[in-house]
Every structure is written in structure tokens, then in C-alpha cells.
């Protein structure tokens, strides 16, 4: 395959980006505001609100981390097919500061005494070990304590921010700087490999901290990989959605074609299967060994309140998208693929919801407007941070030396 000659010109969409970011901001303010109001109205010291907020936060976080991984892995493998959509991935990874803003309210349940009497704390139960597992949870104090937890949180965000900045900067440099030695390209290539190690460790521990410790007596070594599978699925879906949107608005008509959608679709198929594989491994091993210290997690998810949803997730998160993505035609039709991508995002959110909420309330599924509102708010915040970058930067990494190959790329 010979590379296509490329017009090395930026694809700028500042007006569109500004418009979208405004929509994002409005969604963020309305969503989070409504969520907060609804939460306050429940009169539970905002407990429900904070759990719902954590779901929204996790949803946001999978976009950002998905973007980071996507960018890293394209560099480490020297992928050519993905160059035309990579900038969107870079925008997604560069939303770390907004994620940091979103993390600030989480300090409240960590640092206040609110709700301790009634529920033993607002969010993470280990803040004040209580209940039948109190002794076990107290044993984990060297790791699960508030100062260390906040320290780690800051550390993760800082590391991600530095990584995102590094790769964003080099990528932009590539656009304008026609360096014959390809210094930025090579630098990204070189640092992406250690970057992935850092990514793997921080993502794993962040998911242990923020999500797994919502049930502090429970543990699973594969948990980080499980969250990782969701991140990858999310970012590919997001790249499809944003590309289709841009094309619909008249941008990048040529730069993203059926071949790229086909590949993005393949990755969504692959990671749907991967997610199922990880989820099955986790469930099956715990179900099979039937050890009391582990089964609690699945036990609370197979109560009357959660059983239906647990079984449904198998269908909605595996069977439906798997057979949906199976056909070559679906993957090559942008609009159809975008619909599936939206579907993937929705069921991914369901997965996060299912991961977190039963730990708050095993007896009843508290699903309501409050979750919807906070999630829309979190997504709006992400959208704002994501689209803000389009105001200043090209939405295409037009200086990447592999762009010609990318455009010539053909699936078999």
C-alpha cells in the first residue's frame, strides 16, 4: 500500500468546538446542579448524591483514561491506521484538569463527619469501618486511610496530567514543526512504552481506590483490568461518535473513511469480547470457589433488587453489541456504527452503575433522576473540556508523518 499524498493543512473547527463546549458547560452545570438539588432533597446528608456522583465521575474517568491509553498504544505500536482519529483521542486524554475539578467534591465525604452516625460515612465505607466487616476493613488501614488516599488521588491526576501534556504538546509540535529528524514523533514513540507501564499501574490502583474500595472487604486482582476494558471500549465508541459528528458538520470528510470506521468497529467488537472475558473470569472464579470473603460482591448483586440487572448486563453488554458488531457492513456504515457507539456508552455506564451502586444499597435499586442528572453533568463537563481544545487546535493531527499511510489504509 503506498501512502497517499496529504495536504498538510489543519482542520480547524473553532466555532463548532466553541458551540459544543458551551453545550457541555450547560449540561455540566444543569446536570450537576440538578443532581445536587435532588440529592439535597432526599435528606440523607447527600449520601445518595455522592454515590451517584461517583458513578458519573467514573464515567468521565473512563473517557479520559481511555483516551490516554489509546494515544499511548498508537505510539507504542507505531500504528498508521489511527492517525486521522488520534487527535480526538488526544483531546479526550487532555481532559485531566477537568477530571481534577470533578474530583474536588469527593473530598467532602472523605473529610467531613456527615452521615457517620446513620450510615458510617457518606461514600467509601472504610473511612469509618463499621458493620460486620469492620475488623477486616480496619486491618487495611495502612492503605485505606484518608490522607494517603487523597495523596494517591492527587498523584494519579498529576501523573496523568503530565503524560497528557507531554503527548499533546509533541503531537501539536508535529503539526507545525516540519523537523526532518522527527524529534517529536520519535520522542512520543520512545516514551509511550514506559508510559503504558505507568498507565497500567495508576489505572489499576485508581480503580482499586475509587471503585473497588466502595466494598472495602471485597477484593479481586483482575479489577483493574476490568475497568481498563471499559476504558478502551469507551474511547473507541467516543472516537466513532465524534468523527461521525464532525463529518456531519462538514469536517474531515476525506480523512476518516469507511476503513477507519471498520477498524474502530473491530476494536469495539474485540473489547466487547475482552470485557466479557474479564467479567466472566472474575465472576466464574468467585462463583466456583464460593469463598465467603469474595462472594459478598456477587451476592449483593444477585439480591431481588439487583438480580434482573445483573442478568440483563450479560445480554446488553455482551450478546447485543457482539452480534451487533459482527457484520462487516455495520462497521463500515458510519451512522449505524455511531448508533452502536452510543449504545456502547450507555451500557458501559450501566456497567459502572452496577459496579458501584449495589454497595450503597443492596436491598433496592435506587436508580432515579439523580443518577441520570449527575451522569449528564459529568459527561457535560467532559464534553466541555474535550471540545474546548478544538477551539484552539486542529481536529486532525495533520503533521503526523504517518498520515499518508493512514489514508491509504485498507482492510482485508
Amino acid at each position: 500500500m503506498n501512502p497517499v499524498n496529504v495536504n498538510r493543512e489543519p482542520v480547524l473547527a473553532p466555532d463548532l468546538a466553541a458551540r459544543v463546549s458551551r453545550v457541555g458547560l450547560v449540561l455540566a452545570v444543569l446536570g450537576l446542579g440538578a443532581g445536587f438539588a435532588l440529592g439535597a432533597a432526599e435528606g440523607d446528608n447527600l449520601r445518595h448524591f455522592f454515590w451517584a456522583y461517583l458513578v458519573g465521575f467514573a464515567f468521565f474517568f473512563t473517557f479520559t483514561l481511555g483516551g490516554l491509553f489509546f494515544v499511548l498504544v498508537q505510539h507504542v505500536t507505531g500504528a498508521k491506521w489511527s492517525v486521522s482519529v488520534r487527535r480526538m483521542g488526544e483531546f479526550a486524554m487532555n481532559t485531566v484538569p477537568a477530571l481534577g475539578i470533578m474530583a474536588i467534591p469527593l473530598l467532602y465525604p472523605l473529610l467531613t463527619n456527615a452521615g457517620r452516625e446513620e450510615f458510617g460515612g457518606l461514600l467509601w465505607p472504610w473511612v469509618q469501618p463499621h458493620g460486620e466487616h469492620a475488623d477486616l476493613v480496619a486491618m487495611k488501614e495502612p492503605f485505606l486511610n484518608v490522607p494517603f488516599f487523597i495523596g494517591r488521588m492527587v498523584f494519579y491526576l498529576l501523573v496523568w496530567w503530565l503524560m497528557a501534556r507531554f503527548f499533546m504538546k509533541r503531537s501539536l509540535q508535529q503539526d507545525t514543526d516540519r523537523d526532518p529528524a522527527y524529534a517529536p514523533t520519535i520522542a512520543m514513540r520512545k516514551l509511550s512504552a514506559p508510559g503504558i507501564i505507568v498507565f497500567a499501574l495508576t489505572l489499576s490502583f485508581a480503580s482499586f481506590d475509587w471503585l473497588m474500595s466502595t466494598a472495602p472487604e471485597w477484593f479481586s486482582t483482575i479489577f483493574g483490568v476490568y475497568i481498563f476494558a471499559g476504558c478502551v471500549l469507551t474511547i473507541h465508541a467516543w472516537l466513532v461518535i465524534s468523527s461521525v459528528f464532525l463529518q456531519k458538520q462538514g469536517y474531515m470528510k476525506k480523512e476518516v473513511n469507511a476503513e477507519h470506521y471498520h477498524d474502530l468497529g473491530k476494536f469495539m467488537t474485540a473489547f466487547t469480547v475482552f470485557w466479557a472475558y474479564i467479567a466472566f473470569s472474575q465472576f466464574m472464579l468467585i462463583w466456583y470457589a464460593n469463598l465467603p470473603e469474595e462472594t459478598g460482591f456477587f451476592h449483593s448483586r444477585t439480591t431481588e433488587a439487583w438480580k434482573t440487572m445483573s442478568y440483563l448486563l450479560i445480554v446488553t453488554n455482551f450478546f447485543v453489541p457482539f452480534f451487533g458488531f459482527l457484520s462487516r457492513h455495520v462497521k463500515r456504515k458510519p451512522k449505524m456504527l455511531a448508533m452502536w457507539a452510543v449504545y456502547v456508552l450507555i451500557v458501559h455506564w450501566l456497567d459502572l452503575y452496577w459496579l458501584v451502586m449495589p454497595s450503597m444499597s443492596p436491598e433496592s435499586n435506587p436508580f432515579g433522576l439523580i443518577e441520570v442528572a449527575t451522569t449528564i453533568g459529568a459527561f457535560g463537563l467532559f464534553l466541555w473540556a474535550f471540545a474546548r481544545q478544538g477551539v484552539r487546535h486542529s481536529v486532525l493531527a495533520y503533521g503526523d508523518p504517518k498520515l499518508g499511510d493512514c489514508l491509504a489504509h485498507e482492510n482485508y
Binding site: 499524498n5 529528524a181 520519535i186 486482582t221 473470569s281 472464579l285 466456583y288 470457589a289
Partner: protein, 465 residues
């Protein structure tokens, strides 16, 4: 409006990627010649020497199996509490080795990694032979080998069926499916190359034999069309299959309640380990083979370097899993779990644990440096280290979790017998004998697929394509 810094494909490759995959005089005929000559001519003397040695070692395997069968599994070091001794260690080791082939063939095919073509045939053959070695161990471990067919659901006079809730039975299905599908995949890829050998053959016998297995292939495009589609489908099927096989092997351990075995990350961790050891074995074999049979232009330094990168990456994944297990064993708050891991690192088998960690995690770090990634002696030595390390990983998993039982009264230090050694070394004899026969008589490199990677396979009709 081409920019001054516009790149051509070749320039880009030179700067970012190393030189093209097929080197030297790479017209179509010379590719055919290079590969077919090996099968057509008498092999170098080193081949005969290696073959004789392998046959001798294979004989040792035969003798130890005969001794085992007529005497019983008591000839091994297996005993309570370490009832799964070397046979299972060797089984997992060989199954792991058997993962690189199908992975290179299928997964890299799906990822459009053109570089796989130089080594895929080779690695697939290795898979087949490694799985044969692997399958042998549980078979002889059952003791009464003549009733091994009981593991298959065959209607029988006992009117009973195998227990499908047992991970050991899943193994039977996973390994036999993996073997069958890998064999199909290997053979299917070989059909066009066998046709090349048939059409070049001058002797009646080789025309007949290659001809039979070439199935009358003539390279008709209508056939190529279906062939390529099916090859893609097989790749798409083989990819989750590869993952499933070692996951199922890991279930043998992870479904149990034994500390050190029961951990949810075991499936992907085993898969990563399998790929790691498999690639190491490919390097171990490819380095001498390319020198011996003059395949340096087809299995280039770039192939080796890329494999070394995969070794580095999967080695890191394995390291990640070691770390996660250790962390969670503490985080779980389960004393037994914690003890199992501390015991691994500082107990009576600490030496094995630290061999494992150094060979699998520390040693491959040298591949961060391009100079070492591209040094034949370094990679050869490291690949052997990795093989050793991965054998010890299985040893550590199997033995350390068992040897310190829940009852300290039954603690027992496991030591192998000479039959254990003879069987393990003998399995290498089986593997190498098959492998050397493959090298001698079959196309070692996928001729048609390598041709597809050359510029000759593509029409040069402009850039407006």
C-alpha cells in the same frame, strides 16, 4: 500542496521503523527458491547431529514413559501434599510455549502486522509440537493411560458422563480444540506452499507426497478469494481460542480454594505468560534455524527485534500480575493468602521464586535497549532465560501452594526423581525431533504470504487509490 517535509513510505520506515521485512534479492522466484531449497536439498551436517541427539533424547522419553506405565506414577516425586508435581508443571509450560504460534498467526494477522509472515509458519509448527508435548503430560499423569478415553464424553458401559463442572475436563476440551484448530490453521496456510514444492519437485515420490497434501492447489483466484476469507475467519476464531486455552489452564488452579491459586487475575496473567514464553521459544529456535538454513533474508533482524519487544511487553504484563497478586494478598486481609505469597518469596522455595522473578521480570528489561534487542547472542541467551523463568513460574505456582498445606503436619519438601528429569528432558527430545523433521521436509516460511508482503504483490497505480 505537498510539504517539503513530506515523507515517502521508505523514508518514514527508515526513520521510524527499521528496514523492510524481506531483505536481499526479494523477487518472487528467489523467495520460492530460498524456502524450497531447504526442503529439496540435503540438510547441513548440523541438522543430522541435532536430529540424532533429539532422537536419543526422545528414546529416553519413551523409556521413562514405559517405566512409568508399567510401574505407576509413584516413580515420580509426586506425593502428598504435592500431588501435582512436575507433570503438571511441564504441561502448563508446554501449553504456554504452544501459544506463540497461533498468536503470531492469528492475532498479528488480525492486527495486520505484516512482519508475522517471516516467522508464522515456524511458530505454528512449534505450537503443534508443543501442544503434543503438553497433551502428553496429563495423559501419562492419569496413571492408567489406557483408559484415558474416559475423559471424552463417549457413550459407555458405565452409563456415566464426564463431569463438566470440572476445570480439568474443560482442559481436555480446550487443549484438544486448540490442537485441532491450530493444525487446521497450519495446514491451511501450508497448502499453497506445498503446491510450490510439488511443482518444483523432480522426484516422483516428492511430487506424489507434496501433491497429495497440496490437494491440487493451482492458485486460482476464485480459490484464493475463499481461501483468504476463511483464513481471516480462522484467525478471528483462533484469537479468542488462544486466550481461552490458557485461561482454562489457569482455571485448573484458580477455581480451587487454595491460597496462591485462587486469584481472579490468573486467566489473563496465564495468557500473558504463555505469549511471553512462546515468543521466547520462537526466538530460541529461530536464531539457529535462520543461520542453519540460510533464511536470514526472510527472518530478518527486524523480525527478531519485534519479537523481543513482544517479550519485553508480555514480561511486563507478567510482572504486573506478580505485583497485583502480592498487593491483593495483603489487601484481602486473608491470612492464608498472605502466607502463601510470603512463603513463595521467603519460604523453602524462595530460590525458585527468585529465579522466576529474575528471569521473567528483571532479565528481559535489557530489551529496553535497541542495541541488545538487535544482538543475536544477547537475545538467544535471554530467550533461554525466559524459558527457564517461565518453567519456574509454573513450578512456583504448582509446588509452593501445595507443599505447605493447611496442616503443618503434612508439610513436605517436594523433590523430583530421576524419572521426572528424564521425562522433562525427554519431552524436549519429542519436540525437537518433530521440529527438525518439519524444518527438513516442509516449507519453513510461508512462501505465498511473504510474497504478499513484497512490492511485487501490489499494483503501482498511483496515489489516488
Amino acid at each position: 500542496m505537498a510539504n517539503t517535509a513530506e515523507l515517502t513510505h521508505a523514508e518514514l520506515d527508515n526513520i521510524i521503523d527499521p528496514p523492510a521485512l524481506v531483505q536481499g534479492k526479494d523477487d518472487l522466484a528467489s523467495i520460492t527458491d530460498t524456502v524450497c531449497n531447504v526442503a529439496e536439498n540435503k540438510p547441513p551436517r548440523a541438522w543430522y547431529i541435532a536430529f540424532l541427539i533429539s532422537l536419543g533424547v526422545l528414546g529416553m522419553l519413551g523409556a521413562s514413559i514405559v517405566y512409568l506405565v508399567i510401574t505407576g506414577v509413584g516413580v515420580w516425586g509426586n506425593n502428598q501434599p504435592v500431588a501435582w508435581g512436575w507433570p503438571i508443571v511441564n504441561f502448563v509450560f508446554w501449553v504456554g510455549i504452544g501459544h506463540a504460534g497461533t498468536l503470531i498467526s492469528a492475532v498479528l494477522y488480525l492486527f495486520r502486522q505484516g512482519w508475522r509472515t517471516g516467522i508464522n509458519r515456524f511458530a505454528e509448527a512449534m505450537t503443534i509440537f508443543a501442544v503434543i508435548c503438553a497433551g502428553m503430560f496429563p495423559a501419562i499423569h492419569v496413571g492408567r493411560i489406557w483408559v484415558i478415553y474416559w475423559v471424552f464424553p463417549i457413550p459407555n458401559q458405565m452409563a456415566l458422563w464426564p463431569n463438566f463442572r470440572s476445570p480439568l475436563l474443560w482442559d481436555v476440551f480446550a487443549v484438544s480444540t486448540y490442537f485441532s484448530v491450530s493444525l487446521l490453521f497450519w495446514y491451511m496456510g501450508m497448502v499453497p506452499d506445498l503446491a510450490s514444492l510439488r511443482d518444483r519437485a523432480k522426484k516422483k515420490m516428492s511430487r506424489l507426497l507434496y501433491g497429495i497434501f497440496a490437494l491440487g492447489w493451482t492458485g486460482a483466484n476464485r480459490q484464493w478469494h475463499r481461501y483468504e476469507r476463511v483464513y481471516l475467519l480462522l484467525a478471528a476464531l483462533a484469537t479468542p481460542l488462544v486466550l481461552s486455552v490458557h485461561s482454562v489452564v489457569s482455571f485448573d488452579f484458580a477455581t480451587s480454594q487454595l491460597p496462591g491459586w485462587h486469584t481472579t487475575i490468573l486467566p489473563p496473567y496465564f495468557v500473558a505468560g504463555a505469549i511471553f514464553s512462546g515468543f521466547a521459544m520462537v526466538v530460541t529456535l529461530a536464531v539457529p534455524a535462520r543461520a542453519l538454513f540460510g533464511l536470514r533474508n526472510l527472518i530478518t533482524m527486524r523480525h527478531l527485534e519485534l519479537m523481543n519487544k513482544v517479550i519485553l511487553a508480555t514480561g511486563l504484563m507478567v510482572g504486573y500480575a506478580y505485583a497485583m497478586e502480592f498487593f491483593i494478598s495483603w489487601y484481602s486481609g486473608n491470612k492464608y493468602e498472605g502466607f502463601a505469597f510470603v512463603n513463595r518469596a521467603f519460604g523453602s522455595y524462595a530460590w525458585a521464586y527468585w529465579i522466576m522473578v529474575s528471569c521473567n521480570v528483571l532479565v528481559p528489561q535489557i530489551f529496553w535497549f535497541k542495541r541488545f534487542r538487535r544482538s543475536i547472542p544477547v537475545m538467544f541467551v535471554i530467550s533461554i532465560f525466559v524459558n527457564i523463568g517461565m518453567w519456574f513460574e509454573r513450578f512456583v505456582i504448582v509446588v509452593t501452594s501445595l507443599n505447605r498445606d493447611f496442616l503443618p503436619s503434612s508439610w513436605h519438601y517436594f523433590s523430583p526423581t530421576y524419572v521426572d528429569f528424564a521425562t522433562l528432558i525427554g519431552s524436549f527430545g519429542l519436540f525437537l525431533t518433530l521440529f527438525l523433521l518439519f524444518c527438513r521436509f516442509l516449507p519453513q516460511v510461508a512462501i505465498a504470504e511473504v510474497k504478499l508482503q513484497t512490492p511485487h504483490a501490489h499494483a503501482h497505480h498511483g496515489d489516488d487509490h
